[in-house]
């Protein structure tokens, strides 16, 4: 019987964490909007999300052992994120194209390289990470990682320009009227030498 109580205590804590994380992410969705809820819900959602984040130890200092223990548990159990896939709305995604400049003046275009169709999904996730990060330095490092792999395939290239754009998807009606997906320019990075910092241009 004592063993059953131990299992019950663990399950209670485990489910509580799953529900708290899911509620926090749902509230974040409402706070960031747009959703079908009235705009007045945004303020409440922001406050509630902050409170839930605090309950999950996110307001404690990073060095706090309780915060670290909780973070470790949710990561190893796979419950660190909510389940709002493709919700509340499906984002357009991001595209990255490399402009390869050869010494003789020739220019070629290349997409991020993958060998198998199965790797297309992880790469799409990678591009979303690049597009969504608010940190310029991180974005540059991630773009450079992909640029390096292209460079390895084309060692005679003199410089590489990486152009990041967000994808604008047409509605079904626009599609029937002939409109197709388009890219909105976001950032461009010029890489000349492997270790040199990139020169960044943005829209």
């Amino acid at each position: 019987m004592r063993q059953k109580y131990a299992y019950l205590a663990w399950l209670t804590l485990h489910l509580l964490l799953i529900v708290l994380v899911s509620c926090r992410d749902t509230l974040r969705v409402v706070a960031e909007g747009p959703t079908i809820l009235p705009v007045s819900f945004k303020n409440f959602s922001q406050k509630a999300e902050t409170a839930l984040s605090a309950a999950l130890g996110r307001k404690l200092p990073a060095s706090n052992s309780a915060r670290e223990a909780l973070a470790t548990y949710v990561q190893v159990a796979g419950v660190e994120a909510g389940y709002g896939y493709f919700a509340p709305n499906v984002p357009g995604g991001y595209g990255l194209i490399f402009e390869l400049h050869y010494p003789e003046g020739r220019v070629e275009y290349e997409l991020p390289l993958v060998s198998s169709p199965a790797a297309a999904l992880p790469i799409a996730g990678f591009l979303d990470s690049i597009g969504r990060t608010p940190h310029d330095a991180l974005r540059e490092i991630l773009v450079k990682t992909l640029a390096q792999s292209v460079w390895r395939e084309h060692p005679d290239v003199e410089s590489v320009r990486a152009i990041l754009g967000s994808i604008r998807l047409p509605t079904a009606r626009e599609f029937t009227e002939g409109k197709r997906e388009s890219y909105e320019f976001l950032y461009a990075y010029d890489f000349n030498l492997e270790n040199a910092p990139a020169k960044r241009n943005h829209h």
Binding site: I18, I36, Y83, N89, A119, P122, L138, I167, E181
Partner: protein
């Protein structure tokens, strides 16, 4: 109070056979095997170099104790072993673990190894991991904690293992069931908050968005009048899951519908691995014995009286 406690324990520790555990073991074994094989040519490029180091640095801001490939890479570097060799070894071990889980040899050890190796890959490659990795971590986490081996495994035949406590088997199945209810509830809830799922535009966007644009939009657009129905159907199916999955009658509609939804996601969006893990989790949690005749479960003497 006593009756509430009895009901609670009765709900959380229902006697169960280990068929669901066999489904989970074989299913996740297949998932790990296909996952490894599908990424064989991109594994090293996805998990090596700067991206891995940045992902691990960000992970360290959360916790220093979450497993990662960097631990092995750093240790091996001291022995003069290159990063690529370590990553290849991790991939080969993961593939072997997947195959081992399918046949059920050293089930407990391989379940722990599978969870650990996949977690290392998912965390070190957090920029390239997606929903499938989350659910695979969840599945492997429950698998390694569940009372293995099951009677369909090679372990059972080789070692002549004793039957496991049916109430403990029932408990771990219940944990998986409750978790799936939370998953679908919140997935349905967040979808119904978006106007695009009501008017069907999100179905269209999901199907034409790269890299999910498997079906030609020219074909899809002919079915545009069905998108609002499909959008509402999806979130009703997910939102209603925690209610309708428990009753045996409604489960016979809900479970096949959810599995069919995942098959459509696999075919129409190319998300084969994501769909497979979801179907495996659903079948293990609610699928076994659904269409079979109800059988009496023989309890062990000590658990029967508990």
């Amino acid at each position: 109070m006593q009756s509430v406690k009895t009901k609670l324990f009765g709900f959380l520790f229902p006697p169960s056979t280990d068929t669901w555990l066999a489904v989970l073991r074989v299913g996740l074994g297949l998932q790990v095997t296909i996952y490894s094989l599908s990424l064989r040519s991109d594994w090293i490029s996805l998990l090596s170099g700067t991206a891995r180091k940045v992902a691990e640095a960000l992970l360290s801001l959360e916790s220093h104790f979450v497993p990662r490939l960097g631990w092995f890479v750093a240790s091996a570097a001291q022995l003069g072993i290159h990063e690529e060799a370590v990553l290849f070894l991790a991939w080969a071990c993961l593939l072997a673990v997947g195959c081992g889980l399918v046949v059920g040899v050293a089930s407990r050890f391989l379940a722990i190894a599978g969870w650990f190796l996949h977690l290392c890959a998912a965390k070190s490659g957090s920029f390239v991991s997606y929903g499938m990795d989350n659910f695979l971590t969840i599945g492997l986490f429950y698998l390694m904690l569940s009372p293995l081996p099951d009677r369909y495994s090679l372990d059972w035949r080789l070692r002549k293992s004793q039957p496991k406590n049916p109430q403990l088997l029932g408990f771990w199945r219940r944990v998986l069931q409750l978790h799936l209810c939370v998953v679908y509830f919140f997935s349905g809830l967040t979808k119904c908050l978006g106007s695009g799922w009501w008017d069907g535009s999100n179905v269209w966007r999901a199907l034409i968005r790269p890299p999910f644009n498997v079906i030609d939009p020219e074909i899809l657009v002919r079915w545009k009048y069905l998108f609002p129905v499909a959008g509402i159907f999806i979130f009703v199916l997910e939102f209603g899951y925690p209610v309708f999955i428990w009753n045996t009658r409604t489960r016979k509609i809900w479970l096949p519908s959810v599995c069919a939804m995942h098959v459509v996601i696999a075919v129409a969006m190319g998300m084969y691995l994501f769909s497979l893990v979801m179907i495996v989790l659903n079948l293990a949690a609610f699928g076994t014995g659904l269409f079979a005749r109800t059988k009496q479960i023989r309890l062990q003497p000590e658990t029967a009286s508990a």
